[in-house]
Amino acid sequence: MSMPITDQSSFNQFQENLQSPPLDPNKKPSRFTKKHKIAVGVGGLLFMLLILLAAIAPKPAPVPEPEIPVVVVPPIVSTNTSEFSKRLIELQAQLVAADPAEVEVLPPPVALEISL
C-alpha cells in the first residue's frame, strides 16, 4: 500500500489558519499601524514630561542690573546736618505712633458674664 500524496504548503497554511483568531468579516482594517501608536504614546509621554519640567523648573534669575559705581562721599562735616534733623523728626513721629497708652483699638468693653 502506498501512502496518499499530500501538499505540504497547503497543510502549513491550514495550520496557521487554525492558530489565528477568527476574523470578523465586518471589521474594517485599522488606519493606524503599530508605528503610529508608538509615536502617539511617546509624544504623550514627552508632553507630560514637558509639563512636569515646567512645573518644577526654577524660575529664571532676574537679570542683574548694571552695577552703579560706588562714589565715596566724604563724611558730612559741621553745619550740614539737615538730613539728620529730618531723621530725628521721623523718629519722633515713630515714637508717638508707638505710644503704649495709645493703641489703635483697645479690647471691646463687653460684659463677660451674661445670664437671664
Binding site: K37, V40, G41, G44, L45, F47, M48, I51, L52, A54, A55, P75, I76, V77, S78, T79, T81, F84, S85, R87, L88, L91, Q92, Q94, L95, A97, A98, D99, P100, A101, V103, E104, V105, L106, P107, P108, V110, A111, L112, E113, I114, S115, L116
Partner: protein, 268 residues
C-alpha cells in the same frame, strides 16, 4: 486606553498648575487693617444696641413673669450673646492683623500668641454654633455659663497680642534711635577736629545719650519681665497694665534721648 490616560493626566496637571497659586493666596486674609477695624467698630455698635434691648427685656420679664415676656427676654439674650461673640471675634482678627504686621516682635512669642488667637476663634465659633438652636431660658443660661469657663483664654487672646505689639513698637523705635546715635558719632562728631573744644563737649553729650539709651533698654527688659512673670498669679488684663507701665518709662526715656540728640546735633 493608555493614551487616553496620559492625555487626562496631562490635562489634570495643566489645570492643577494654573489653579494652585491662586488657591494658596486665597487663604490669606483679603481685608486690610482699616477694613478690619471698621468691621470691629460696626460689631461693637451692634453689641451696644443689643445690650440696650436685653436690659429692657430682662427688666420686663422680671416684672411681668409672663411667657411672652420670657420668650422675648430669651430672644434678646441670645441676640446679645451672639453679638458679643461676633464682636470679640472681629477684635481678635484686628489684633491678628496688627500683630503680624508689626516689626520687632519676638518670633517665638508671636507663634505662642497666634495659637491663643486661633484657639479663641475656635471657642467663639463653637459658642456661636451652640447658640443658634437655643429657644429656652435654661439652655441659654447653660450655654452662657459654659462660655464663661473660657473667659481667661479669650482675655489672653486680647491682651497678649496687645503686649507684644506695644513691646515690639517700642523696641523697634529704640533700635532705630540707637543706630541714629552711632551715625551721629561716626558721621558728625568724629568729623569735628580734635583741636576744637566743641568736640569734648559733644563727646560728653554722647555719654548722657548712652545713659538714656541704657535706661530705655532697662525699662524694656522690665516690661519683658512683667510679660513672663508667672510667679504672681494675675489676669492678662493686669499683666498688660504692668507691661504698659514699664513701656511708658521706656517711651519717656526714648523721648529724652531724641531731645538730647537734637541738642547735640544743633551744637555741631
Amino acid at each position: 486606553m493608555r493614551y487616553r490616560f496620559y492625555f487626562c493626566l496631562s490635562l489634570f496637571l495643566l489645570i492643577y498648575i494654573s489653579v494652585w497659586p491662586d488657591g494658596v493666596s486665597a487663604q490669606i486674609s483679603p481685608k486690610n487693617k482699616e477694613e478690619l477695624i471698621s468691621d470691629y467698630r460696626y460689631e461693637l455698635e451692634q453689641y451696644r444696641d443689643k445690650q440696650r434691648v436685653f436690659e429692657l427685656d430682662k427688666a420686663e420679664y422680671a416684672k411681668l413673669r409672663t411667657l411672652v415676656s420670657r420668650d422675648k427676654a430669651v430672644f434678646s439674650t441670645k441676640a446679645l450673646l451672639t453679638a458679643r461673640a461676633t464682636t470679640l471675634k472681629s477684635y481678635v482678627l484686628v489684633l491678628d492683623h496688627i500683630l503680624n504686621n508689626t516689626q520687632g516682635v519676638d518670633t517665638k512669642e508671636l507663634e505662642r500668641v497666634n495659637a491663643f488667637m486661633v484657639s479663641t476663634i475656635e471657642i467663639l465659633d463653637k459658642h456661636l454654633s451652640e447658640l443658634e438652636p437655643v429657644q429656652d431660658q435654661f439652655v441659654i443660661n447653660q450655654v452662657a455659663a459654659k462660655f464663661e469657663q473660657s473667659i481667661e483664654t479669650v482675655l489672653a487672646a486680647e491682651y497678649y497680642p496687645l503686649m507684644l505689639i506695644s513691646i515690639g513698637r517700642i523696641q523697634s523705635t529704640a533700635d532705630q534711635v540707637y543706630i541714629a546715635r552711632i551715625d551721629l558719632e561716626r558721621n558728625y562728631i568724629q568729623a569735628v577736629p580734635d583741636t576744637e573744644s566743641k568736640k569734648a563737649l559733644l563727646l560728653r553729650g554722647l555719654v548722657d545719650l548712652d545713659s538714656q539709651i541704657s535706661k530705655t533698654n532697662e525699662y524694656i527688659n522690665l516690661a519683658w519681665q512683667q510679660y513672663y512673670d508667672t510667679k504672681v498669679k494675675m489676669t492678662s488684663r493686669d499683666r498688660y497694665q504692668n507691661v504698659v507701665t514699664q513701656l511708658q518709662s521706656a517711651y519717656s526715656s526714648i523721648s529724652n534721648t531724641l531731645n538730647l540728640m537734637s541738642q547735640i546735633e544743633q551744637q555741631i
